[in-house]
């Protein structure tokens, strides 16, 4: 899969490190607020009130994205255990991945503002869509 190697001119792995990430459980809480139907997959997290749990969950997901970035040219192999988990245990409907991707974009955009150029968005969108494809391709 051909993805702009620097994910829009900034190494994607640099993005979380070059700017201190927001301390609040931004990503997960935003997902639940904007797309409430996604809460069904997280009954233990759905209130947005337990900041520690939300932060932990958001960080786990971000770590998985970071790992995917490190193995951009071998996504299937790198994400195979996660793909198994999603297919056999979590069984998240594939329609939810674009919702998560949109929230990821919005968090990046609101954090980076002018630095979130059109090229960066294109690269991140292509990459995250590729991750979603890999995570759902074992479903059947």
């Amino acid at each position: 899969m051909r993805i702009p190697g620097a994910l829009g001119g900034v190494g994607a792995s640099e993005v979380p490190r070059s700017r201190p990430p927001p301390r609040s459980p931004t990503w997960s809480c935003r997902l639940f607020t904007v797309y409430p139907s996604t809460k069904v997959y997280f009954p233990h997290l759905s209130s947005c009130q337990d900041a520690t749990q939300l932060l932990s969950h958001g960080q786990r997901m971000l770590a998985a994205v970071g790992a995917a970035v490190q193995h951009m040219d071998h996504l299937r192999a790198a994400l195979s255990p996660l793909a198994d988990l999603h297919a056999l245990v979590l069984r998240v409907d594939p329609a939810n991945f674009p919702l998560l991707i949109q929230c990821f974009h919005v968090v990046l955009a609101s954090h980076l503002q002018d630095e979130f150029t059109v090229e960066m968005q294109a690269a991140w969108d292509k990459f995250l869509t590729g991750v979603a494809v890999v995570l759902t391709e074992k479903y059947r």
Partner: protein
């Protein structure tokens, strides 16, 4: 609550709208340009627009800018008629189906791009609640635009 039971947190939308009108933010061209670059297959509807060969070509294209303005004017109509979107967009929906042959998926793509641009502009002020309000609006506009498809 709208007449037909729709609920749009209009205060959240109004606040963002007022701020970006005052700041003279070039929202129209930017959102359309971003759509054509991030989702290049959307260029299929604009063969007559001339040079769309690169992000900078798209940004400098006067037809892209003009069309972006048209789209945003329509979106302004949406904000003024939030409780009556299907009627407001009935003719536009017919046009996009019968003459322009635009896949309704593209309306969702543009809506999402507009939300992202708002986020780049408003930063921390673009809270989850504000995003939720705008996502709901752009989604409703997309549904209204697809309503007359047959």
């Amino acid at each position: 609550m709208g007449a037909k039971g729709e609920y749009y947190p209009s205060k959240l939308i109004g606040k963002v709208l007022k701020i970006f009108c005052i700041s003279n933010f070039v929202f129209d061209m930017v959102s359309f340009h971003r759509l054509l670059v991030v989702y290049p297959w959307t260029q299929r509807f604009f063969d007559s627009f001339g040079n769309l060969s690169s992000p900078s070509a798209i940004l400098g294209n006067p037809k892209v800018k003009a069309h972006g303005k048209k789209v945003l004017t329509s979106f302004g109509d949406a904000i003024k008629n939030m409780d009556n979107l299907k009627t407001t967009f009935a003719k536009l929906s017919e046009l996009h189906c019968d003459k322009l042959h635009v896949d309704p998926e593209n309306f969702k793509l543009l809506g999402n791009v507009m939300v992202i641009i708002l986020a780049t502009h408003f930063g921390k002020e673009f809270t989850p609640e504000v995003q939720a309000a705008w996502q709901k609006l752009v989604s409703a506009v997309a549904i209204a635009l697809a309503h007359k498809y047959h």
